[in-house]
């Protein structure tokens, strides 16, 4: 292939990625402005809080407890290679709170909530319900996007906090029941080792991941193509984008909080 053609293709790809990034940024800023400005839709916010927060609890809890348990087993087995089995409580705590809690909750929210938001809004778009909202003097960003993004901003940090605790309890259960750790000493080591910065970083990550998950669902839904295929593409694209952005944001935030 002609090197110039290759360069042109690369240029187009970069331009396309930058343009998408710009559109998502503007969409996010628009959503933020609608969250701040009246009218507000408390009923829609309540439904979003229920769907994103309360109804995600089972999947978050199950993910966290199994991950915490597996983490304890891995650290115990790995630590045994250099006589460091005793660090299980500390590593489970730091691993869950700093990384696994927020990332796994973020990814579960992307799978459960982003897909659901994208499919719902995309279906509303292809069935002209979004146009109907406009003709009924209701701004779709205010009615559909703002409550979902605000609800994710509020509930996902809570879910991360709960996931962290359940994950640590999963590790605790395995360590105490199967690995012979003393229950009180395990908890004491966990509490002593965790710092405020660990917990704050976990909750901040949760808030950022929640916003990413909700914004991606709304963005892809609002920009869906026509028909069932359009809804399918919007749903798939929203989950892919949310998952990648969550992992990228996790890397950046970890650097911000813990770079030495």
């Amino acid at each position: 292939m002609n090197p110039l053609d290759l360069l042109a293709r690369l240029g187009r790809l970069v331009m396309s990625v930058m343009a998408s990034f710009g559109r998502v940024t503007l969409f996010t800023l628009d959503a933020a402005s609608h969250i701040l400005r009246p009218p507000y839709y408390p009923r829609e916010l309540g439904i979003a809080l229920l769907n994103i927060g309360w109804l995600s609890l089972p999947v978050v809890g199950l993910t966290a407890i199994f991950t915490g348990g597996a983490l304890a087993l891995q650290i115990y087995a790995g630590g045994a290679r250099f006589n460091a089995e005793a660090v299980v409580p500390q590593i489970v705590a730091i691993g869950m709170v700093r990384e696994l809690g927020p990332v796994l909750v973020g990814l579960m929210i992307a799978a459960r909530v982003t897909s659901s938001i994208a499919a719902e809004i995309a279906t509303m778009k292809v069935t002209e319900q979004i146009d109907a909202l406009v003709t009924l003097s209701t701004h779709p960003m205010k009615y559909l996007t703002a409550p979902r993004v605000l609800a994710a901003l509020i509930t996902v940090p809570m879910l991360v906090g709960i996931g962290d605790i359940i994950g640590i309890m999963g590790g605790y259960t395995v360590a105490v029941q199967n690995l012979g750790f003393n229950a009180a000493a395990y908890l004491q080591n966990t509490v002593d080792f965790l710092e405020t910065r660990d917990v704050v970083s976990s909750l901040v990550k949760g808030a950022v991941f929640g916003v990413i998950a909700a914004v991606m669902g709304c963005y892809y839904g609002m920009n869906s193509g026509r028909g069932a295929q359009g809804v399918g593409r919007a749903t798939k694209g929203s989950v892919e984008a949310a998952a990648v952005l969550i992992l990228a944001a996790n890397f950046v935030l970890t650097g911000v909080f813990f770079s030495i």
Binding site: Y41, M124, T127, D131, A132, V134, T135, L136, S137, T138
Partner: protein
């Protein structure tokens, strides 16, 4: 009351409206006919601001529709029946009908909004027990009626009907046509309907406009439609495959 002047709209290479000019007088029912994909829905959506025209002007009561100032107040003058109903799946029927009355500048107390919704449902021939059902639990004809009830709930001055009889059996289509005619007459509203159902045209229209090739090919009173002498309109209303309108086989 509504005037479209030289409106152009293209989607990529597809030039849908190519200088559409149309006038809809106050208190009349104008039906826009034309084949599928000729831009009838696009024209309606341009008036409402759902689609921005590439060029041309649209006036409502002499004021530029693109520069309305208070958008909420502008849209409050309109009601629209969408082709597929466009009812909100997550809301019960009465909240769909009373949607505008539960929020925004026309907000009323919940009890009053519900009472108005039930009255509008009754007006379109639906019983009060439908009010608490979800749209998915209704037949296509009932959904169309609920959409009609929602369009008239706030007693708008201007009502748009997008393919009101598409997908309905002939009897239900007749019922909807009669309802539209009655409601427009009793409310004194200005109506704009798009359809390719000629039975609907004859039942609803005061005036007919035929959209073809992105422009209004013919316009006039419904009574003159059969003797227009326009070959395009003639081919369309008689459903002939031969004529100036190319039929894709």
């Amino acid at each position: 009351m509504i005037r479209m002047e030289n409106v152009h709209k293209a989607f990529g290479d597809n030039r849908v409206l190519q200088g559409m000019t149309l006038e809809v007088p106050r208190g009349t029912s104008t039906v826009i006919i034309g084949g599928s994909g000729t831009g009838k829905s696009v024209a309606l959506k341009c008036v409402l601001g759902l689609i921005k025209p590439d060029s041309g002007k649209i006036y409502v009561d002499g004021k530029d529709a693109a520069d309305t100032g208070d958008r909420d107040a502008f849209l409050a003058r309109f009601g629209m029946l969408f082709q597929g109903g466009a009812l909100f799946d997550s809301l019960p029927v009465w909240q769909n009908v009373a949607f505008r009355l539960l929020r925004g500048s026309l907000k009323r107390p919940v009890d009053e909004a519900r009472a108005i919704a039930i009255e509008k449902l009754r007006r379109v021939g639906l019983k009060p027990d439908v009010a608490d059902r979800l749209p998915a639990e209704l037949s296509g004809g009932m959904q169309k009626r609920v959409g009609l009830a929602r369009a008239i709930a706030a007693e708008p001055e201007i009502i748009f009907f997008d393919e009101p009889t598409t997908g309905l059996d002939p009897i239900m289509a007749g019922v909807i046509n009669e309802l539209i005619r009655e409601i427009v007459t009793e409310m004194g509203a200005t109506a704009m309907t798009i359809t390719h159902d000629m039975t609907s045209v004859r039942a609803i229209a005061d005036n007919v406009a035929m959209l073809h090739g992105g422009v209004i090919q013919w316009t006039g009173p419904v009574a003159q439609m059969d003797d227009s002498g326009d070959p395009y309109l003639d081919q369309f209303i008689h459903g002939r495959a031969e004529g100036p309108i190319e039929a894709v086989r």
